[in-house]
């Protein structure tokens, strides 16, 4: 005990690193439940639905879901901080219009047009982030506003027309397959690279630990030296630029730049992120669950479409799944508190009991 200021040696008490076994830590998680459900639905669909297992089905499943996969990455991080970005689909539309205008009308090269569209995504995200992180406005209100604002700009720029005159080579890039008759589009590589980068940022970096701390307790994060405002700004900028990238993909894939491209996609993204186990209150979630969440919804849609069910039925099923997932989270949390209370006696009780009591007065 003589040298408290020095790093202690390993003498004395040691603690196990984990309170649960490896198997339970991996398997008994929300993320694993989503992955399991995804595999289940996938295997079931393959076995029972004609043509589901054909490479083409999978190929279109990926093509359709790539924008959602892309945007879900930064969205997960934004929601982990306890914020939300509803303007992503509008940024997709804005970026799509810019690519069309700058290439087709202004005659810029595709590279330059894409670069400027991405830059617009950075600016749009930075504007959201500035209002949320530095002005201190609630992100829900800010991004509802910019959802309308960015969509308005996009539709104002292009009106009702569509720009379709894009080079075939670029359009092919968006739909190219990895190898002959492979179900995997080349763009999936881009998604994979970004997924690895975001996984590193969120789960294997000091910055990522800060993201979770902000979501759990932003004041304590501030007292620990986390730059709360800058972290949030960074995440909104990332959300903006990745949405713009999704907009570029969207334009090339359908060969059409329109102001109303991807309308409503923000809710699809958020639904998938929440289904994947990210808490809407912040502080909880993991990227593998988010990816599984996107794919789960994608597989369900694809399977039900192949079965000839209408979009309405599909939406009802996905809606029910989301509600069920929210309920299951609350149930699990309730079980956990009951167990914890049994295990630790009254220790964790005082504050909650006091709070409840006064509220019930």
């Amino acid at each position: 005990m003589s040298t408290l200021t020095q790093a202690p040696t390993t003498e004395g008490r040691t603690y196990p690193s984990y309170s649960r076994s490896l198997a339970r830590r991996v398997l008994a998680t929300r993320e694993f439940a989503v992955i399991g459900l995804f595999v289940l639905v996938y295997v079931f669909s393959t076995a029972t639905i004609d043509n589901f297992s054909s490479p083409l089905t999978l190929y279109y499943l990926f093509l359709d879901n790539i924008p959602i996969l892309l945007i879900a990455l930064p969205m997960a991080a934004v929601i982990v901080t306890g914020e939300i970005d509803l303007s992503v689909a509008s940024i997709v539309g804005l970026s799509s219009c810019l690519v069309g205008l700058l290439h087709v009308d202004a005659g810029l090269s595709m590279g330059a047009a894409i670069g400027l569209a991405l830059l617009a995504g950075v600016v749009a995200g930075a504007f959201n982030g500035f209002l949320v992180a530095y002005v201190g406005l609630p992100s829900l209100a800010v991004t509802i506003g910019t959802l309308a604002l960015y969509r308005g700009i996009a539709e104002g720029l292009l009106g009702t027309q569509a720009k379709t005159d894009f080079p075939q080579g670029w359009k092919d890039l968006a739909t190219a397959q990895l190898g002959n008759a492979s179900p995997y589009p080349v763009v999936l590589l881009l998604v994979a690279v970004l997924a690895v980068l975001f996984a590193w940022m969120l789960h294997f970096s000091s910055f990522g630990r800060g993201i979770f701390e902000i979501g759990l307790n932003d004041e304590a994060a501030h007292f620990t030296g986390v730059n709360v405002a800058r972290t949030k700004l960074t995440l909104f900028v990332l959300s903006g630029v990745v949405s713009a990238l999704a907009g570029v993909y969207y334009t090339l894939r359908y060969g059409s730049a329109r102001g109303d491209n991807a309308t409503g996609m923000e809710l699809q993204v958020i639904a998938a992120v929440l289904l994947g186990g990210v808490s809407i209150f912040g502080g909880r979630g993991a990227l593998h669950g988010v990816l599984a969440g996107v794919l789960l919804i994608g597989v369900i849609r694809s399977a039900m479409t192949l079965e000839g069910l209408t979009v309405n039925v599909t939406n009802i099923v996905i809606g029910a799944l989301l509600v069920a997932s929210v309920i299951s989270t609350s149930l699990l949390a309730w079980f956990a508190t009951v167990r914890a209370r049994r295990a630790s006696g009254s220790r964790s009780g005082p504050t909650t009991a006091a709070g409840k009591r006064s509220l019930s007065n």
Binding site: M1, T5, S17, S19
Partner: protein, 517 residues
């Protein structure tokens, strides 16, 4: 003689495998103030919750005013005349004070609330308690002391025969404590029974008639205050003799580490100048709200300041930038553990490694393994009680949480440790551990700035006491000259000159010029 207000005998309660109460007993007579003391985890809270109707007992006798009682809800307990006042009452902030008191039983008919009558009744209650609170003001913005008064007013309006106060003074300043005590004595004289739970012995001895001690879920003893002493009670609480609660050992005082010059923040504090030297514990005393915590927050950079300078070992520390303060070698343990000190939903390991984690990355990759390896030995050094490093801090007791916060900052190997209310709400055993630790750290040459509302703690631990009053440092008193009287005098008199003050502010700044030149 009337029946006892409260009788608990041989009460037991288990939560799963954990026996929170083995055989707890407590008898409170009407017209008395009964102190209930014990270390954290001794079972006080569980016992109170049984009386309040939060938990049901497994066995034993429970009588209220001579009648057998068994509550399955807080409403039943309230209807039977039990009122519990918590450390931090939760009110409806947007409703006015009277509405909070009469919530759910407002005077008037079913369709209409008779506001005038409600205000009049509230005003009458406040007058009876001798406090000046406007019945029409919203509850938002009331001090914690006033919120407690509100709860007491509510209890009186319900004509509660038993009032339980669970650490009511933890967040109060001296004047507020006095006012609360006046009210408590008045209620006692009206013949009500009062149970007072506190970790502060001077208050127990000041206020109470009788004291019961609990340890490990069991009844230990009941004595009248006049026939016992602090040492005897502490010995009973911990089951062993505690040699000294405040074991500051003299340390060699070195060079100036922290130098604060003319720090000013409008409305918070003004022209604050002081130094802390290596090996020195400087106590920052004063009333709650005098600006002590605000000064500490500004030094560390979580808040800004409009004028002045902070330097550490002669190098300026950037303002409003905790990161820069951390890299300069400042550690700050804030007063509110759960909100500011740690992420309660985070694991022990991530909390302990929270400040240094950037340095734990390899090639930019930070793993849980690296965090665990860094956190484990420090948790062990501070004897944190946890079953594994991934346990959430929220599951731990206050004392253990405080150890986690201290570990988190000692990991950074700071030159200056700022600690705000080092032992608030933690039990006697851990308290003396923390005191010994601070003493050891100073002995190894760390500069320590300690803010405390507990005068004995300040007087026992500090080499030098700086007293803050209304945002200004009004006295700088050396350890030998510091007495409760002169510290309290300086804390309540802004321009008062204090007998025995050795350093004046002018002498302080002369020192600093020497250092910064």
């Amino acid at each position: 003689m009337a029946a006892a207000t409260l009788v608990l005998e041989d009460v037991s309660k288990s939560f799963g495998a954990v026996r929170a109460l083995r055989s707890a007993s407590l008898t409170v007579q009407p017209g008395s103030i009964h102190a209930l003391v014990g270390e954290n985890g001794a079972g006080k809270s569980t016992l109170i919750k049984i009386v309040a109707g939060v938990h049901r007992r497994d066995g034993g006798v429970f009588e209220l005013n001579g009648e057998a009682a068994d509550f399955s809800s807080t409403a039943e307990s309230k209807a039977a005349g039990v009122a519990v006042i918590y450390q931090e009452p939760t009110l409806f902030p947007d409703l006015d004070v009277s509405e909070n008191i009469f919530m759910g039983r407002q005077p008037g008919s079913t369709l209409r609330i008779d506001k005038q009558r409600m205000y009049a009744e509230a005003a009458a209650l406040f007058e009876r308690l001798g406090v000046a609170i406007d019945p029409r003001r919203p509850a938002k913005g009331l001090s914690i002391a006033d919120q407690q008064i509100l709860e007491i007013a509510k209890a009186i309006s319900l004509d509660a025969s038993l009032l339980i106060m669970d650490e009511p003074t933890a967040a109060l300043s001296g004047v507020e404590v006095e006012r609360l005590f006046t009210v408590a004595r008045q209620l006692r004289d009206e013949g009500r029974g009062i149970v007072f739970i506190s970790h502060r012995f001077e208050e127990v001895f000041d206020l109470c008639d009788t004291v019961s001690v609990m340890r490990d879920g069991e009844y230990v003893s009941t004595e009248t205050i006049a026939e016992t002493s602090v040492e005897a009670i502490v010995a009973k609480m911990v089951g062993r003799e505690v040699a000294e609660l405040f074991p500051k050992t003299p340390a060699e005082i070195g060079d100036v580490v922290l130098d604060v010059q003319g720090l000013t923040s409008p409305g918070q504090f003004r022209d604050v100048t002081f130094q802390v030297r290596a090996g020195e514990i400087v106590g920052l005393a004063g009333l709650v709200g005098a600006g002590r915590s605000e000064i500490a927050r500004a030094v560390f950079g979580v808040d800004g300041y409009s004028a002045g300078r902070v330097s550490l070992n002669g190098a300026a520390v950037a303002k409003q930038n905790p990161r820069s303060a951390i890299s300069a070698g400042i550690a700050f343990i804030p007063e509110d553990r759960r909100k500011q000190g740690l992420v309660t939903e985070g694991s022990v390991a991530r909390n302990v490694a929270g400040v240094i984690r950037t340095g734990l990355s390899r090639l930019g990759v930070l793993t849980s393994r690296a965090e665990n390896r860094a956190a484990g030995p420090w948790a062990a050094k501070l004897e944190v009680k946890t079953s594994a490093l991934d346990m959430r801090a929220a599951t731990m007791s206050g004392g253990n949480q405080q150890k986690v916060v201290i570990a988190k900052w000692l990991v950074t190997q700071p030159k200056l440790l700022i600690i705000d209310e080092p032992t608030r709400g933690i039990d006697v055993g851990t308290k003396s551990e923390v005191h010994r630790l601070l003493s050891d750290l100073a002995g190894q040459g760390m500069a320590i700035l300690m803010i405390s509302s507990e005068l004995p703690e300040v007087l026992g631990m500090a080499d030098r006491v700086l007293v803050v009053c209304e945002g200004r440092i009004t006295a700088d008193i050396a350890r030998d000259e510091a007495t409760p009287e002169n510290v309290m005098h300086a804390a309540t008199h802004r321009d008062g000159h204090v007998a025995g003050a050795t350093h004046s502010a002018a002498a302080g700044s002369a020192d600093s010029q020497e250092v910064t030149a």
